[in-house]
Structures are given as C-alpha cells and as structure tokens.
C-alpha cells in the first residue's frame, strides 16, 4: 500500500508538468486563435533542419558519407577523409536563422574559432612540423640525385596553373588550384588559404581525393611509359648515413630553401625544424610529441573545419568540376613527368647506376602512398625487386618541391 502511494505520487509529479502545459495551451486556445503547443511545435518545425532543407545540402552530405566510406572501406587517406567527410555533414546541416552562433561562418561559434587555424595557415604549418618529426630522410641523403625526380614531378603544378588560367580562373585562383598538382594536402590548403580562401574547400577535397586515388591513378600511367626491361632494373642498396649527416640535413635544407624561396618558409621551416628535433638525438621527447599528440590534434581540427567550411553554395559549382578535372589531369602529368625524367636521367648514367624509372612516379609528394605503389608495381615485374627505399627519396623531395613551388606562387601572386 505504502509503495502504491509513493508510486502514484511520483507518477503524478512526473506528468503534472504535461498537464500544466496542456492547461496553458487550453487557455491559449480560448484566448487566442490556436493551441500554443502545436503552434510552437509548428514554428519549431519550420525552423528545424527538415523544413529549411535544400537539395544541394543533401548532395553535400552524401559526398561526406562517400568520403567516409572510401576512407573506411579502402583505407584511402583515412586520417583526413574521415574528419573532412564528417565536417561536410556538419557544415551542411541546414541551420535556422537565429542569433545563436552555430555555423562555421557565424562569428563567435565554436567552429568559427577552430577554423581560424585553417584560415590563417597555422594548421598546415604545424602539420609540416609533425611530418618533419616523423620522416626519415636517410634514403634521400644517401642518393641525393634522386631529388631531381621530386623536382621534375612538380611540372604537375605549373601545368595546372596554365590549365586553370585557360579554363577561365582568375590568376590568384589559378595559383591556388595549381598546388593540387603537387599532391600535398597541407601545402594546397596553405596556398589556397592565402590566395583563394573561397576555393579552399574544393581544392582541399580535390587534393585529398586524388591523393587517396594514387593507387588507382598512377599504375596505368607508369606501365604506359615504361618497358618491362626498365621496370626490372635493380638499384644498388643505399649507403648507410651517419648521424652527423642526418643532423646537418635539416639545417642545410632549411637555410637553402628559405634563402631562395622565402615564401615556402612557413611550411619548410617547420618541416626541417621537426626533422631536426627528430635527428638531434637530444630532443626526443619534443619530436615524439610533435609527431603524435600535436599532429593528431591539428589533423582532427584541420579536417573537421575544412569539411565544415565547404558549403553547398561554394562547392556545387562549375568551378569545382573544373578543379576536379584539372586535378585529375595534373596528377597524370606529375606522374608522367617523374617517370619520363627518370628515363632521361638514365641516358646519362652508367649501366650499374641506372635508375628504375618507376620510382619517378614517387616524385609526387603523396608520402608514402606513391612509394608503396612503386614497390607494388616493381614487384609485379620482378617479385625480388624492392623499390620502396629508393622511392622514398623522390617522394620526400617531392614534398620539398611542392612547398617551394607553393612559396613561389605566393611570392608572385601576393
């Protein structure tokens, strides 16, 4: 009996609110023209996402889901495609017109502040710091001439620049779009945050999409441009690299690149700084943090806000289609540039020093995806041939080359 009373007391308490609410409504009904509750609900509905919905936003959300699907199913650049995809969803939820700052464009919203690091180029710089702290440049140090391949592949950038101008883009926009040809995500984001912020979303998504598709795009071009006889070339193993060389590498690299191309300093200065932290042998704890927590936090925020800043109105345009077309072509040209340059170099090299031209494809800076593609293709021709180490040299010098090219674009166009 006691329990019975308690039960109903509490139950009454729970539903009292509703009853009061209904009474209020009833009164409202009497006094005014309609039920306040249903009136409120209707107004609420009018302002929720469902009624504000624009079909283009649905398209954007589906694109986001596709990127996430690609990342999970095929492990294509997941560390960036998952955040970017989620960002696309978040950024394209229809928002009510309200004083509450929620969207990434609303000054004072959380996303607005987190986007600051993208808009001002801080995140790409910090990512380069992390990359420097995780990359081993010894294959490059042991065989410096392979850096030429990393330079050659940057033809993708300049071909895209001309292409973009031809397709009618304004000159700053063309400069930003060009960097897609470098196959380097943070560099592309850094350049377009400076040159063409309104295209940042399209450029970033194009860049990462093609970088994700490296294992699909590169092999046919590589096979088309090489003969079996070339693909089976075995290269001598790289020499051991001393600690002193590893320490001097970032210092020399920093000074040389910054002197000649100061525009690349925010990226390459950080890259070489990170690498010095790694190789100095006395700052291991800093390098460890730079390549783990720091770069992870920045990656999360970069991906999410790049995605969220890409609104349907800005992305679903003819311009974006052109950017994606240019991206595909420039990737092909960059790959071809690297492979052909390798073949050209072989004309000047003695027989035992010949380069396997496949590693030219690694001149695009998609690290280490390109190197792995080279390894796989090399093994298809000769299962005992391991090109991975050799491919890393053009691969990491491609990162340097792309950043220098981006620095040049900034110097010319700002």
């Amino acid at each position: 009996m006691r329990r019975f009373v308690k039960y109903y007391t509490a139950l009454a308490m729970l539903f009292m609110l509703f009853v009061t609410g209904m009474q209020a409504e009833a009164q409202a009904v009497a006094g005014e023209s309609g039920g306040a509750f249903f009136n409120g609900l209707a107004k609420f509905w009018e302002n929720s996402g469902f009624s504000n919905f624009d079909i283009r936003q649905l398209v954007m959300i589906i694109i986001g889901l596709v990127l996430i699907h690609l990342a999970i199913k095929f492990k294509y650049e997941p560390l960036l495609l998952v955040p970017i995809g989620t960002g696309l969803i978040i950024g394209n939820i229809p928002l009510p017109v309200s004083d509450a700052a929620i969207g990434i464009k609303d000054e004072g919203s959380v996303l607005y502040y987190l986007y600051f690091g993208v808009g001002e180029g801080v995140y790409p710089s910090l990512i380069f710091l992390g990359i420097g702290a995780m990359t081993d440049f010894s294959s490059l140090i042991s065989n410096p001439k392979l850096m030429l391949l990393g330079a050659a592949a940057q033809i993708g950038i300049f071909a895209t620049f001309i292409g973009a101008v031809l397709l009618g883009f304004e000159i700053h926009e063309a400069g930003a779009i060009a960097i897609i040809g470098g196959a380097d995500g943070p560099t592309a984001i850094f350049a377009s945050s400076n040159l063409a912020p309104h295209l940042l979303g399209s450029i970033a998504i194009a860049a990462y999409s093609y970088m994700a598709l490296v294992p699909v795009i590169q092999p046919p071009i590589m096979r088309l441009l090489t003969k079996k006889r070339e693909r089976i070339i075995k290269m001598p193993p790289p020499r051991a690299v001393s600690k002193t060389e590893k320490v001097l590498f970032p210092l020399i690299g920093l000074m040389l690149t910054a002197f000649i191309s100061p525009g690349s300093l925010p990226l390459l200065g950080m890259l070489f700084f990170g690498n010095l932290l790694k190789e100095s042998g006395v700052t291991d704890r800093l390098a460890e943090t730079a390549r783990t927590s720091m770069v992870d936090i920045v990656t999360i925020l970069l991906g999410l806000t790049v995605g969220a800043s890409t609104s349907a109105a800005m992305f679903l345009t003819v311009g974006s289609i052109k950017i994606f077309l240019l991206g595909a072509v420039s990737f092909g040209i960059a790959t071809a540039g690297g492979v052909i340059f390798a073949k050209a170099m072989n004309l000047f090299l003695s027989k035992e020093k010949k380069i396997n031209p496949l590693i030219g494809a690694a001149g695009v800076s998609a690290v280490p995806a390109s190197s792995r593609v080279v390894q796989t293709e090399g093994q298809k021709a000769d299962p005992s041939n391991h090109l991975l180490m050799h491919a890393m040299a053009p691969n990491v010098s491609g990162v340097i080359g792309s950043a220098v090219a981006a620095g040049m674009m900034l110097s010319f166009l700002m």
Binding site: P144, K145, L148, A240, S242, E245, L256, S261, L388
Partner: protein
C-alpha cells in the same frame, strides 16, 4: 614580390614567366640541395681523414660503412615481405600498449568499454 607582375592587368607572357621562373626555381633549389648533400659526406670524411692522420692512423675499412652489408639487405627484403603480406598495423607502438593493457584487464570487448567509460567526467 607582386612588383613582378601587374596582377590586375596580367597577360599571357606573365603566366609563362611565372611558370618558367617557378619551375626553374624548384629545380634550382633541389639541384643546390643535391650539390650540398653530395659534398657533405666528402667534407665530413675529409675532417675524419685529417683527424686520423694527426693521430697517425690510416683509413682502411671505409667501404663497409658506405654500403649496407648483404645480411642487412636480406633482412630488409624479409621485412618488406612481411610488411606487404601481413598488413602490419599502422602503429605497433599503440597496439603494443593495448596488448599489454589487455593483460591487466580481464574484460570482454563489451565490458571493456565500461572501464574506458570511467574516464568520462560529464
């Protein structure tokens, strides 16, 4: 450096200048790096030679430091084989920790998360 081009009234020659200068500088930077990195081991070696000469010794076994010896190479090949066939995990570091953690945590996958959830402080 926007003095170089009148950005408002560019013509095609500007585009080609940007392209040609830009691509040339990329090559120039990397060629300079190649030269320096080619010289680097020689300079370092020189210093070493000088020092050794002072100490009245001779350099003999230089080559076995220059190239990765055969057995290392074999190990590398094996490693590569393992690498491409085993789908080795992204970060053995983290995985290792997780394994050790498991040893200390007798939770099935479902319960295990509650232990994790203890971190949540809403």
């Amino acid at each position: 450096m926007n003095f170089l081009i009148d950005l408002a009234n560019w013509d095609w020659s500007d585009i080609f200048v940007i392209t040609a200068v830009g691509y040339s500088v990329v090559f120039a930077v990397l060629i300079l790096l190649i030269i320096v990195y080619k010289l680097m081991p020689k300079v370092l070696n020189l210093q070493l030679k000088r020092r050794l000469k002072k100490e009245g010794r001779e350099i003999t076994a230089k080559s076995d430091e220059e190239y990765v010896p055969g057995e290392v190479n074999a190990a590398v090949a094996t490693a590569l084989h393992l690498y491409f066939n085993q789908q080795h995990d992204e970060e053995s570091n983290i995985i290792t920790i997780k394994r050790v953690e498991r040893t200390y945590s007798p939770w099935s996958s479902k319960i295990y998360n509650m232990n994790n959830a203890r971190h949540y402080q809403p």
